[in-house]
């Protein structure tokens, strides 16, 4: 019974990929993938997802630590707020970003007049959109890792004279390193597949804001073979990273 249900789940997930592979234009694939557009979109996707992950780790790990280790009024609210982008339709997130960080937006106007920074229609805007939707995946994973760890190690370090920063760096971080890696991988994968927030906030321009998912969506409009070829690239890259990291890191969790 259980095996049957598990098999059903596998079949359900695998079926669309079978469809993709079956429609793949294998003979024309090299020519389709040799187009400069593909390398451009792939490069942009990989680098922007990496940047979004780096930002998420830098601000997300401290946030997870605060949520896991400190009880403060409004903690439940902060936690809900941080995970909101996970459940929100990405297009809504993108529109919200546009209204806040666009050049007519509350913060965006200030960014433009003070620093001349214009986030919409820029690569930085792509990273912002990806960070917005991917950050919760890191925070949730790391917070769970911290919650299952024993806070007494940190207390012991403090008793032995370590400052809060030293205890965090030398004790907490090594303890939750596997969670951070797992969270970063999830975060990166989510950023790599990001579509709705990106196109709504950053727009679509080859070489500047057109990531692989955007390229796939537009190719579907007039060149299905190209769309399938691009999809295969996205699937292959994601699968390679997930398999490689899973073997290496997730086993430890």
């Amino acid at each position: 019974m259980l095996v049957g249900l598990a098999g059903l789940a596998v079949a359900f997930v695998a079926l669309p990929f079978v469809g993709l592979l079956q429609r793949a234009p294998w003979s024309g694939l090299p020519a389709l993938l040799a187009r400069p557009l593909v390398a451009e979109a792939l490069g942009l996707s990989l680098s922007s997802a990496l940047a979004a992950t780096a930002i998420s780790v830098v601000v997300g790990v401290p946030l997870a630590w605060v949520l896991a280790r400190h009880d403060f009024p409004g903690r439940a609210l902060v936690r809900a707020l941080v995970t909101l982008p996970m459940v929100l339709p990405p297009v809504v997130g993108g529109a919200a970003l546009l209204f806040a960080l666009g050049r007519q937006g509350l913060v965006g106007r200030w960014l433009e007049t003070q620093f001349g920074i214009l986030l919409p229609f820029s690569t930085a805007g792509v990273v912002v959109a990806q960070t917005f939707v991917a950050l919760p995946f890191l925070v949730v994973t790391v917070e769970a890792g911290l919650a299952s760890g024993d806070p007494r190690y940190e207390d012991a370090a403090a008793t032995l004279g370590a400052s809060r920063w030293t205890a965090f760096r030398r004790v907490t971080l090594p303890l939750v390193a596997p969670s951070i890696v797992a969270g970063a991988v999830l975060c990166w994968a989510r950023a790599l597949g990001e579509f709705g927030a990106t196109i709504t906030f950053a727009g679509n321009l080859a070489g500047r804001t057109q990531t692989l998912p955007l390229a796939v969506f537009l190719a579907l409009e007039d060149d299905r073979d190209a769309a399938i070829a691009l999809s295969l690239v996205l699937v292959a890259v994601s699968l390679a990273v997930l398999v490689a990291l899973r073997g290496r890191w997730f086993a430890r969790l």
Binding site: V3, L8, L98, G102, N204, L205, E221
Partner: protein
């Protein structure tokens, strides 16, 4: 171990196939009403919604009641759905090339009827803060300019027009459809963009239109036709006839479309 897995895979496949067969509304009955499923280009959203309302309340075949259900989207995306067997009764595209593809692919068998024409217009945020006067302004470097992507009809048309008038534009974004382009202009995030004349009307007070006389030469013609495997072929023909009737033409003109 193997058999339950095989059964599960088979069940999964069966579920997926059932999902395909059950995916659409065509031929369904909704509370006894006959349902007509219309796939129409996104730019027709407002005009066709009104046409649908009038049609379902005035159609001669409306004795058991007719409910018109719309699927609005980019013409080419709708075509992909049609070729994949999505259940539809009527298809209206934003250009003849896409309709020709539908005929070549067998999704449409009957001769399509041209029912409207649309030309491009410049759209700017209300008040025209950066003083756009004509097509040539799109070449100004300091402006944030949006076009539709070259993959969709409004983008093809825009490039045709700009090439013809030898205006070189480096767009800041190439939006997947005309509505998302218009949204960014309404929000004031883009300074100008080329959209359909009919979209400027739909944009309301937050967007201003500037007519482009040159665009008369490169307009697009909208064809409509019953879908080959329509579940309601009779109703589909009645709907097409209504679109090209005086009443249909009047509604289209109200929404900024020109006569074909």
């Amino acid at each position: 171990m193997l058999r339950p897995l095989a059964v599960a895979v088979a069940a999964g496949l069966a579920l997926a196939l059932a999902g395909c067969a059950d995916g659409g509304a065509a031929g369904d009955t909704a509370g006894g009403a006959r349902v007509l499923s219309v796939f129409a280009a996104a730019s027709l959203t407002d005009a066709f919604s009104e046409i649908g309302e009038v049609f379902s309340s005035s159609s001669p075949t409306s004795s058991p009641g007719v409910e018109v259900r719309f699927n609005f989207g980019p013409s080419s995306g709708l075509l992909t759905q049609l070729l994949e067997g999505a259940p539809a009764d009527v298809y209206a595209s934003a250009d003849e090339a896409t309709m020709d593809e539908a005929r070549a692919g067998g999704a449409v068998a009957e001769r399509p009827t041209a029912f409207a024409r649309n030309v491009l217009a410049l759209a700017v945020p209300a008040g025209n803060p950066v003083r756009v006067r004509g097509l040539a302004d799109l070449a100004r470097d300091e402006l944030l300019v949006g076009l539709c992507a070259a993959e969709v009809p409004c983008g093809r048309l825009a490039r045709q027009l700009l090439d013809r008038e030898a205006v070189r534009v480096a767009p800041d974004t190439e939006e997947p459809d005309v509505r998302s382009l218009l949204t960014k202009i309404e929000a004031g995030e883009l300074d100008a963009g080329l959209v359909y004349r009919s979209d400027v009307r739909a944009g309301g007070a937050r967007v201003e239109g500037i007519e482009v006389p040159e665009s008369e030469e490169v307009g697009t013609t909208y064809p409509v036709a019953p879908v080959a495997r329509a579940a309601e072929p009779e109703l589909a023909r009645a709907f097409v006839a209504f679109v090209v009737s005086g009443e249909g033409r009047r509604i289209l003109a109200d929404h900024g479309f020109l006569a074909p």
